[in-house]
Amino acid sequence: MSEKTMEEKVEQATNSKNVSLPMSRVRLIMKSSPDVSCINQDALFLTTKATELFVQHLALSSYKNGSGKETNTLSYSDLANAAEETETFQFLTDILPKKILARDYLKSLEEMKKDDDSL
């Protein structure tokens, strides 16, 4: 059975079985990890499906905990907060740095300076 045929079948199953992310792209991302040689079909499917669950989980979790309740919008900072506060999402903290306003940062720097001066 050629690889191509298998891939076609996987795509077919993808379309008819409600997997809404492209498995071929998922495979690409998996392969970009070091030392990964072969990925069997079950593993690929499970990863793809898990990724969907993850997106749902992250989106809903961030939305519920965040300012979304008032503003009705899921924002970047909701996600950054979720990453920091939820243990499961902590692996994301490196790629979800909290953004602070420039003026707040400068203000806190000033305050630091004041503290130093007063010592």
């Binding site: 991302i29 970009s32 499906k49 420039a102 630091m112």
Partner: protein, 206 residues
Amino acid sequence: MNMDGDGSTTDASQLGITGEYMAGSHFVLAQAPEGDEGLNDHEDGNGSKDNLREQDIYLPIANVARIMKNAIPQTGKIAKDAKECVQECVSEFISFITSEASERCHQEKRKTINGEDILFAMSTLGFDMYVEPLKLYLQKFREAMKGEKGISGVTVTEGMGEELTEETFTNPLPAGIITADGQQQNVMVYTTSYQQIPGVQQLQFS
């Protein structure tokens, strides 16, 4: 706008900001006129970073956005940079799981990452709540694959060799002979990783 010289921004003595900010994260300064949500330093759709990472491959944003939209209450909206951000998180997640699974494979001297490795990785990394639903989805997926022409995991073992005659070899045979209801359509008997899963209902996909 990235703060260059991260060393100075994360230096505890310089910042004097509360502990939570000093936990190894770094700051990105954002320009903020009032009421502007969704600030993004990056212009292009993929939210590229200054330094290239292996997670530069992303899943299509439309798919990601759709899943997000369906997850939150119907009236909710999603900021553009939140979508891009989740797109990146997704690649991170996939790599995260894959590395863990890959490591286990290596430890056990195997070359191919299989389903068990993935499930185990998820459990280890704090996503054990996904494991049971995923097992169900996998069953359905396997059923779907078998239902179509060409069954995955079909192999002819050596033991079957005795039953084969010259004639059977001259006929070109399609791989998938055994249909879903288990009827054989020709002489050859295949052994498969074919699992009878009793009692699986046909579930509706929402």
